[in-house]
């Protein structure tokens, strides 16, 4: 294959007119600079990058909390942490890993990569995008801050009532949880809405749904799942908030409420949540396998259907978190069958990937290495997942360390390994520089070994009767040795992540310059400069296959869209199924209003922790800022 240069690319033109046009387009799409400019960008690359960086900061902080817990469990009756500190740390670790790291990291990758992959110049609602980020940043920071103030929630990330009622959890902890989680979910919903609209309407001409890259399909499935799952937890946490704030008694037995109602609402969200994290990760894995085997994926349709199937089925199995609550066995049996059904789409995907890799000349760079680790860890987690779907077996291991092991295999295997792979894979696109392969290999090795050393012994611990969420244990239980293995492993694991952190920071400044397409990938994000131009594509491409870049290399030409104006932010809107050009959309430029609105909303939400009156304050303040945000102005007015 030749490294063919697309003949019509504006970037390659050396004549004055070409250079001038490119400069003009870039000025139109530029983000403001300076201190105030920091609060104004709306380009999806800027917002996506912020999401990713912020989520990884929360990942590191939550990881440090995990180390604290592992140290506490190193020896029986340890007094490194008090029970209250342990419970706060445990709650914040779980909540932050789910709500502040996993979902936003996936959103961030989706927001950064998906518009590029479909050849769009930006997302459909750039300002909403910015608003979502600030909401996430402020909500997440406030939540984490509560830990350092010693007033963090201590009722677990699942906040079961009545333990989280005012009676058993006085203080502000649970209020912080309910308000901040509701708040952060707003951010997830904005991301879901605009990802769906962007993917449906802003695709490059010719990118019909059956040519959509698998990763974009995954993002689409994830977004729809968020749309249906998040309202459940928003409703539940709002009800709990009101129970605590104004005594509504949704969950209070004496008032006619039901503690099990909370569990149903929470897990109706909580289980799809796991797949919200998993599905985009599967998309990342597919993307990387295609690139590093240099072949189109085997079974495109099967893979897409598998992801859609996972999305659907995931809404029908939340009761497997409630096998021990005393529901009738008959009812539980349906959820048992539904839970194990996830094995079908997962199995189809795994074997499609194996078929794709069969006999290929694989390039074993770091992203591919993480993908191979993903296989081992995720398959192991999936198999224990089928086991815990069994009602009688689950009644033994439920809420024991066996389950801790299981879901870390699924979540770290299914989300963190692919995210690490994605980090090494897209880092050159985001920064223009490669990450060090040597450090990458060491990091992958340490993470894989450390992970298994930490979590594999936990299966055994659970079978030996160690329950979850215990701050300590008595010495005669005989759990000490396995706990010590796990603690040792957790530090190896941390060292592995530390290496990647060092690698990333170093590579930003002195990594090898990457070029447009260092992995010779075929999806469109590699058809622009690294890092991407302000406008993504000065001339949006036209697509006629699954593998656009490889085709362009073969044909030595690259069809593009003409006729978009240079002096305002125009992008092409195409039809839903076939992606035929339909109209031109003018997108809004940089503005501080999303930031101001997010601050106004935060005042309302954070105030709610202390007084219901802040609800009124928040609504008025947000209304006022929204009016200013939506005030008609250029470029909507025709000049």
């Amino acid at each position: 294959m030749t490294d063919a240069t697309p003949a019509l690319d504006l970037r390659e033109r050396t004549d004055d007119e070409g250079r001038e046009r490119l400069a003009r387009i870039e000025r139109t799409w530029a983000s403001p600079t300076g201190f105030l400019g920091w609060f104004m960008p709306v380009n999806h690359t800027a917002i996506g990058r912020r999401f990713i960086v912020t989520s990884f900061v929360f990942f590191l902080l939550s990881g440090v909390l995990a180390l604290a817990m592992r140290l506490q469990l190193l020896v029986p009756l340890n007094d490194l942490l008090t029970p209250d500190q342990y419970n706060q740390i445990m709650t914040v670790h779980g909540t932050a890993m789910m709500f502040l790291f996993a979902i936003p990291a996936m959103e961030g990758v989706a927001i950064y990569v998906a518009p590029l992959m479909i050849g769009a110049r930006d997302m459909a609602f750039p300002r909403l995008n910015a608003f979502g980020y600030y909401v996430y940043l402020i909500g997440g920071s406030a939540f984490f801050l509560s830990l350092f103030l010693g007033m963090a929630p201590a009722a677990g990330w699942f906040n079961y009532v009545p333990l989280s009622n005012k009676e058993f959890a006085p203080g502000y902890g649970v209020d912080i949880w309910t308000t901040m989680i509701t708040f952060i979910e707003v951010s997830a919903l904005t991301a879901a809405v605009e990802l769906i609209v962007t993917i449906f309407k802003l695709r490059a001409p010719g990118m019909s749904l059956n040519r959509l890259p698998i990763f974009v399909w995954a993002v689409l499935v994830m977004s729809f799942m968020m749309l249906f799952a998040m309202p459940s937890v928003i409703v539940a946490s709002a009800m709990l908030m009101m129970d605590r704030l104004v005594d509504t008694q949704f969950f209070v037995t004496e008032g006619g409420g039901s503690p099990l109602l909370w569990q149903h609402l929470f897990w109706f969200f909580g289980h799809p949540e796991v797949y919200i994290i998993l599905v985009p990760a599967l998309g990342i894995v597919t993307t990387i396998i295609v690139t590093f085997t240099q072949r189109p994926v085997f079974g495109y349709t099967a893979l897409v259907l598998a992801m859609v199937g996972i999305g659907m089925v995931s809404f029908g199995l939340w009761v497997h978190h409630m096998y021990t609550t005393g529901l009738p066995l008959m009812g539980r049996s349906f959820f048992m069958a539904a839970s194990s059904m996830i094995a079908i789409p997962s199995g189809v995907q795994v074997y499609c990937w194996i078929a794709t890799m069969w006999g290929a000349k694989i390039r074993f760079a770091t992203p591919m290495l993480f993908v191979l680790c993903f296989f081992a860890v995720f398959i192991a987690g999936g198999l224990t997942g089928v086991m815990v779907a069994s009602v009688p077996f689950d009644r033994q291991v439920h809420d024991s360390y066996f389950v801790v092991a299981h879901f870390h295999y699924v979540l770290v295997g299914g989300a963190v390994f692919p995210l690490m792979a994605g980090l090494y894979y897209w880092f050159p696109k985001m920064t223009g520089r490669m990450m060090s392969e040597r450090l990458g290999w060491w990091s992958a090795l340490l993470i894989f070994l450390g992970f298994n050393l930490t979590f594999f012994p936990m299966h055994q611990l659970g079978l030996e009767g160690m329950p979850r969420r215990v701050y300590t244990y008595v010495p005669e239980m005989g759990w000490q040795f396995l706990n010590q293995l796990a603690t040792a492993g957790s530090f190896v694991l941390a060292a592995g992540f530390g290496l990647t952190l060092i690698n990333a920071i170093r590579s930003v400044f002195c990594g090898e310059v990457a070029g447009d397409n260092p992995w010779n990938a075929t999806t469109l994000e590699w058809a622009t400069a690294s890092p991407p131009l302000n406008s993504n594509f000065p001339q949006p491409p036209v697509i006629d296959s699954h593998t656009p870049i490889w085709d362009w290399q073969q044909d030595d030409e690259r069809p593009v869209v003409g006729g978009l104006r240079d002096d305002r932010r125009e992008t092409l809107v195409t039809t839903l199924l076939d992606a035929r050009p339909a109209m031109v959309q003018v997108l809004p430029g940089p503005t501080p209003w999303p930031f101001v609105s997010a601050v106004a909303a935060s005042v309302g939400f954070i105030g709610l922790i202390f007084s219901p009156w802040f609800y009124v304050v928040g609504i008025l303040a947000v209304f006022a800022t929204f009016v200013l945000w939506f005030w008609p102005r250029h470029p909507y007015r025709e000049e």
Partner: protein
């Protein structure tokens, strides 16, 4: 983060290590899924072994195929698996094998679930299990549902009889888990769940709360003791009787300190309901929800500094003069 409050627990550890090990001696897997002591637990343990074996097999086959596929490239130029072979692989590995697994898991789950959760014409005692913060109360009922005896943190069961446990809580959700006998079931406020336990050998095991219930969730354990039916009956009769000692200086101290506000000693004026029933305290093996062995030293430590042993426990600390404490301990130790 808050400043650390270090608890000086070292002397306790030594005592605990030595005596508790002796108390539970000879019991390998004293709280383990894989050392079943009832048919219920044995069926689930067998199911577990079957599933582990099958899962290992599937893991090895899948990873083996993966590694084979990836390793092939070293032999020659890249080559592609034929569409037909790939489809066969995906259908077998991704559809047929999972469906077989689903059918096996679901059928075995329903059949075993039916068995272990069924009452099987239960003929054994009926016991109310109350989850407290953070200890267990067991109330033995007679045929008319009246309470015969109340005890704490120590569940006695007759061998070969299917006991009915009625699980309830008036505070937060707890979960009753004695893995050697049975899977766990939650104690949900406003709801009564039922669980059956039928040990088939005499022995002593440990159980623990499995649903996160607050500060002392970690140390909310209990002892399970299974005896031959006649031994069990004898034990129950003894527990049903009032206190063997109903007067003396120790009891006076007990009442003066206000212990009777929370604890009951049947046959005396102490009739508190918030804490464990102490009528037969001296017959129990452990204190503080199976956390420390029941010895004079530990009992004194628990009375004077419970917060050092279980921070957050609802038991307040008492500091009576040492001769009062002595009398109190002597009295409590006499409550066989």
């Amino acid at each position: 983060m808050r400043p650390e409050r270090r608890i000086n627990a070292r002397p306790r550890r030594v005592v605990l290590g030595a005596t508790m090990a002796a108390a539970l001696s000879g019991c390998e897997g004293v709280q383990s899924v894989l050392s079943p002591a009832s048919d219920d637990a044995r069926m689930v343990a067998d199911l577990a072994w079957w599933m582990f074996a099958t899962a290992t097999f599937i893991f090895v086959v899948t990873m083996g195929l993966l590694i084979t596929g990836v390793a092939l490239r070293h032999k020659r130029e890249a080559r592609r698996i034929s569409f037909r072979n790939a489809t066969v692989m995906v259908v077998i590995g991704g559809v047929i094998a999972p469906i077989a697994a689903i059918v096996a898991v679901s059928l075995s789950g329903v059949m075993i679930g039916d068995e272990v959760e069924g009452d099987a014409g239960s003929s054994g005692p009926v016991i109310e299990v109350h989850g407290k913060r953070w200890w267990w109360e067991f109330r033995y009922l007679d045929r008319d549902g009246r309470v015969i005896a109340t005890t704490a943190n120590e569940l006695h069961l007759p061998v070969g009889q299917r006991a009915t446990l009625r699980l309830m809580s008036d505070n937060v959700i707890h979960s009753f888990w004695a893995p050697n006998l049975q899977g766990k079931t939650d104690l949900v406020p406003g709801k009564v769940n039922t669980l059956y336990a039928e040990p088939d050998v005499a022995g002593r095991w440990r159980g623990q709360c499995a649903e996160f219930c607050g500060l002392q969730h970690g140390l909310m354990g209990f002892v399970v003791q299974a005896d031959a039916p006649q031994d069990f009956d004898r034990w129950l009769q003894a527990q049903a009787a009032g206190a063997v000692v109903r007067e003396g200086r120790g009891l006076q101290v007990f009442m003066d300190l206000g212990c009777g506000e929370c604890h009951a000693i049947r046959g005396t004026a102490a009739d508190g309901q918030k804490g464990p029933d102490l009528t037969h305290l001296a017959s129990r093996r452990t204190l503080a929800a199976a956390t420390i062995p029941n010895s004079r030293g530990n009992l004194g430590g628990w009375i004077t500094s419970p917060q050092d042993i279980k921070p957050g426990a609802l038991m307040p600390a008492f500091a009576p003069p040492s001769d009062d404490l002595d009398a109190l301990l002597t009295y409590l130790e006499a409550l066989e």
